[in-house]
Point group: C2
Chain length 632, copies 2
């Protein structure tokens, strides 16, 4: 069937002139590895077409370390990138073929309204035939979800893949830091998680079968590099991108996706609204190595000219099919808002702040009945399992302020999401649960515990939470605090918040700031949980810092470019890169330098007694300060 696609693309390339393709010069897409890094692929011992990309960082002491790599082919110098054709890496196609439970079919024709317009030519404006793929779906009566396979006892290549990926070859790491004393002292607190020392494919399968983890992987997204979301795995982060009626453009969104995954985004949500969102999504999905999530109700609302009460099950269903055929990996669906919940928001300080939530609330009030999302939930499950789209059950009643945190409305919806989780699991459909929002620190644990209880440990996926309301412009930080804490308590994925939250749409720099903030929050959580694959990176960086291996300190950090540029602002000279001092204290006066001396003498002391050493030290004149030049 691959040939079919190829033929289709051939024909398409003849037509392409007829279409106005968004102007994306390759130089607008960020390519190439991070400093001192190269892409390596680790092959599964069980099957050689499971090759997991990792980032190999070379250190100046001759050693190297491999880091988790979300950046896809864009950081692989050997990869051919053409965003107008989409990623050529389609490893998963073979895996899906060999399961022999799917069929290619004609699929749905794109309509102008999919791009939010009525005129045919306008609708085609950003339509790129080279990005079209013939869709697959499950054969009649089949269920192609990873959860279904797991429950059948099957270990899929996707499961093999994520097992290797989670382990990060950490068995190869030097154990110089893992003394018994240190392991005992630093032992984490996992609050009842069950994180094994080594992630095996069997463990991955069991967690997915149990519903405690998901692999969002639509069969129509073969370009995907599979990843897993669950409390017993590394904490993941999501980056929201997408244009609104007011701003941004297709090329910016594609670059935002590449940029987000470059810095560590594990999944991407395309929250585009307004015009040309179908074609924008073609570009994002076909070029994304990370799972892509959407909120289909946004597009459905565009199709009814933004009039919430005009939404129907038919329009929504058609939109689900449209996006499932494009390859969207998870859908945010606000099926948890019930008629009876709505009055519970009446006395809130900030009412309903979720877009999807307010749309569905309005629909319910207008029609005075339960939403079509709730009424048709099992019909939605049928669609999800035909493409393996995962649920991200939306928290339409999440608190928009500290004052509304953990209130009756929020928890009533959460209980409904728990009921819906059981229904989805009955269909072997993968589920994660979306969470708040604005929650003061002392109420975060209760939030996490309530979710684990109501949703039977289905992965929690939270926005922050923000721990204060008073810092617009810095909400990546107010929320990073809550994110680190809830990640520690058991949250599986953290949706990033950028400095523009509440104020505007993030630009490129905001996206990077949001990503790095959430990477460090997720890492802080992994360390606190005692994840065996977490702390070694801190130890390596700290050792480099103590040994004045500046370049290694930069290259092991989450953002080598920023770390180096900050250093160079005060000490630009190359010699400073190997200097045994830093700009905080200056050359004559360095605590790290002194404490290296202290260490040597302390060691001797223990062996030979102190008095004698002290005499020797004096005899030598005990010079501890080494001028820069000697190091350079």
């Amino acid at each position: 069937m691959q040939t079919n696609d190829k033929q289709q693309n051939q024909t398409a390339s003849n037509q392409i002139a007829a279409h106005a393709i968004p102007d994306i010069a390759d130089n607008k897409i960020t390519l190439g590895p991070l400093p001192a890094s190269e892409k390596v692929y680790v092959t599964s011992p069980n099957r050689d077409d499971v090759r997991v990309p990792m980032r190999k960082v070379s250190l100046t002491d001759g050693t190297h370390v491999t880091l988790y790599d979300t950046s896809g082919p864009y950081t692989d110098n050997t990869a051919q990138i053409d965003v107008h054709k989409g990623l050529s890496t389609e490893t998963r196609s073979a895996w899906i073929d060999e399961r022999a439970d799917t069929e290619f079919y004609e699929g749905r024709d794109m309509k102008p309204i999919d791009n939010g317009v009525t005129d045919e030519a306008q609708g085609q404006r950003f339509y790129n035939p080279l990005l079209q793929r013939q869709p697959r779906r499950a054969k009649a009566g089949r269920n192609v979800s990873q959860m279904h396979y797991a429950r059948q006892g099957l270990i899929t290549p996707e499961m093999e893949y994520v097992a290797l990926r989670e382990n990060q070859m950490r068995e190869a790491l030097a154990n110089e830091f893992t003394t018994e004393e240190r392991q005992a002292r630093l032992k984490g607190n996992d609050f009842g998680a069950a994180i094994p020392d080594v992630i095996t494919p069997e463990f991955v399968r069991d967690e997915i079968a149990r519903g405690r983890a998901i692999i969002p992987a639509n069969i129509n997204h073969p370009e995907l590099e599979p990843m897993i979301i669950g409390r017993n795995f590394l904490v993941k982060i999501n980056a929201n991108i997408g244009n609104s009626a007011l701003t941004s453009s297709i090329e910016e969104e594609v670059e935002k996706m590449v940029w987000s995954t470059r810095w560590g985004g594990d999944t991407i949500m395309d929250l585009s609204t307004g015009k040309y969102i179908h074609s924008t999504r073609d570009y994002i999905v076909r070029n994304s190595p990370a799972p892509v999530g959407t909120v289909p109700i946004y597009q459905a609302l565009e199709k009814v000219n933004g009039v919430a009460e005009d939404l129907t099950w038919e329009v929504f269903r058609d939109t689900l099919i449209e996006q499932a055929e494009q390859g969207v990996d998870y859908f945010t669906i606000h099926a948890g808002i019930r008629l009876a919940h709505i009055p519970l928001t009446a006395d809130r300080v900030t009412g309903i702040v979720s877009r999807g939530g307010s749309i569905m609330a309005k629909w319910c009030i207008y029609h005075h009945k339960e939403s079509f999302l709730y009424e048709h939930f099992e019909d939605i499950c049928e669609i999800m399992k035909a493409y393996d789209v995962s649920f991200s059950l939306g928290d339409g009643l999440r608190p928009g302020s500290l004052a509304d945190a953990n209130d009756a409305a929020q928890f009533a919806e959460l209980e409904t999401l728990g009921e819906l989780t059981q229904i989805a699991w009955k269909h072997d459909v993968q589920v994660m649960i979306e969470g708040p929002g604005h929650v003061p620190m002392h109420m975060i644990k209760a939030n996490m515990d309530k979710q684990l209880e109501c949703c039977d440990e289905a992965p929690f996926y939270t926005l922050g939470p923000l721990t204060t309301d008073i810092a617009p412009g810095y909400d990546h930080i107010t929320s990073g605090i809550g994110a680190a804490m809830i990640g520690w308590y058991g949250c599986a994925m953290l949706c990033y918040v950028t400095p523009k939250e509440h104020l505007g749409l993030p630009n490129r720099d905001d996206v990077k700031t949001g990503i790095i903030t959430y990477k460090l929050a997720a890492h802080a959580a992994d360390v606190a949980k005692g994840h065996p694959g977490a702390r070694y990176r801190d130890d390596l960086l700290s050792k480099a810092r103590f040994e004045f291996r500046w370049q290694d300190q930069f290259n092991l950090s989450l953002d080598p470019e920023t770390a180096q540029s900050f250093h160079d602002e005060t000490l630009p000279k190359d010699s400073a890169k190997v200097a045994h001092f830093c700009s905080m204290c200056g050359p004559k006066f360095c605590s790290m330098k002194i404490s290296q001396e202290v260490r040597d003498y302390s060691k001797d002391e223990i062996e030979q007694g102190m008095q004698q050493k002290s005499e020797e030290f004096k005899a030598q004149g005990a010079q501890v300060y080494v001028p820069v030049e000697e190091d350079a």
Copy 2:
């Protein structure tokens, strides 16, 4: 005695031409109030010379709110500022006079070596006679510490002042948010703190007598606006400034002090090293409305040409007197490092990372004996109580990496700090305890609990802690996470960390970023502790946000300028400032707008039943989207 000073200044101003005064044009100093803010003074009902400055923010709905104000006269349009003469507000002079337990005396002559030089003319280079004040000290046999007065049962004007300041006139606040349900739901967790609903002068006195809080207030710093540090008060933050041998200048440091307090710095530490630190300190102390802390061992080391082992008690003692006469409010003193502790650091990943700690460790090894700080601790107490300088007992063995957190060396020193606290308290000398450093989230509580236990609830003052080691360039955030948590657990003051931590010296923007990050962390802690004076600001801002009062949202935030500039990036039009939508969703599609409708209908529902309303709603055509123009 004031006249003495004045005469001295007269003479001085004649000499001034003879001295090269650092070039600080007033326009280099940031002056004037924040947006929509004015300085107001709240007078004590008990004495009318206790006037507490607060920041009155006017809101567009005609109401106003007063916020805690650390910015001093620089944000008062009526104030005369001349940094070459120092602040003219010397309210405290009268308070100190009336206690009649101090005497003016000639004091110590400044020596060239105080400025790190040997040549007389060079030493005078940045010396400004207009900044000199005749020093005071306790009369023979007297103790002028706030702790001493408190234990005598005296309520000083300083105590009156901080009581008013901590209350922030919150009794005047509208209680619209404090429904019983909300109060019950949001009740904080204070982990055993004892925070009263209203702060009385008696409560302040009791806490100081108990050693659980301090008012750092040197009698030679009359320009000071008193503030209190303790677990039962608002969590405070400190900003480190100071030049190093490599960079910065006096004018930059003065502006950094003004800039830090403008954005909310409660105290300032001058960590200058290298040349002209005496004259730099003249400028900082004479112009600072906030308590100023220093690490005297840094200057002492300069006086012995940076050779740690040449340090003596005499040089150190002379430096303490020098700085006490200048008006430094608290001294970081690393008296907790004992000979036996040093070998405990030998196997650390990052050894000793505290400058003061490594200097003293080296001294101990070289001389093979306990440090003069430890041996002369009671002599130091005698100096402290003669000027009311508070101890900030330094944690010289704080961990410099996650791997070294909460280890034997750190806790051994903490236990010694506990012993020293008891000795200081025997002398009625005020004490706070410095803390780490680098600590993973799951070990932060143990750290706080250990400090409370060892140091009998003396205020804890921590640097961060940083919760990961892998984010140089973003360590304000990795540490902001730990700071918010330890503040919640009981830490009294948080020492800020800037984005330049580990990499270089902070510039003006870095200082602001560090301050705002720590203000929001401290506020998150106050909210989580259930401090009665904390959450109202969040509620007011969230209400403004929900009502689309954009300008109020900006003006109630920690950084109005940044919030507004971020908003204007996407929606610059003035009409957008009152628009009932924001750039996240655009005009057609706004959840806040929708949920206001939902709220109205929900309320009616409860009263009139839903079906009927639903019909009416349809009859009206139910238009919820209001175009910008109608709002503008």
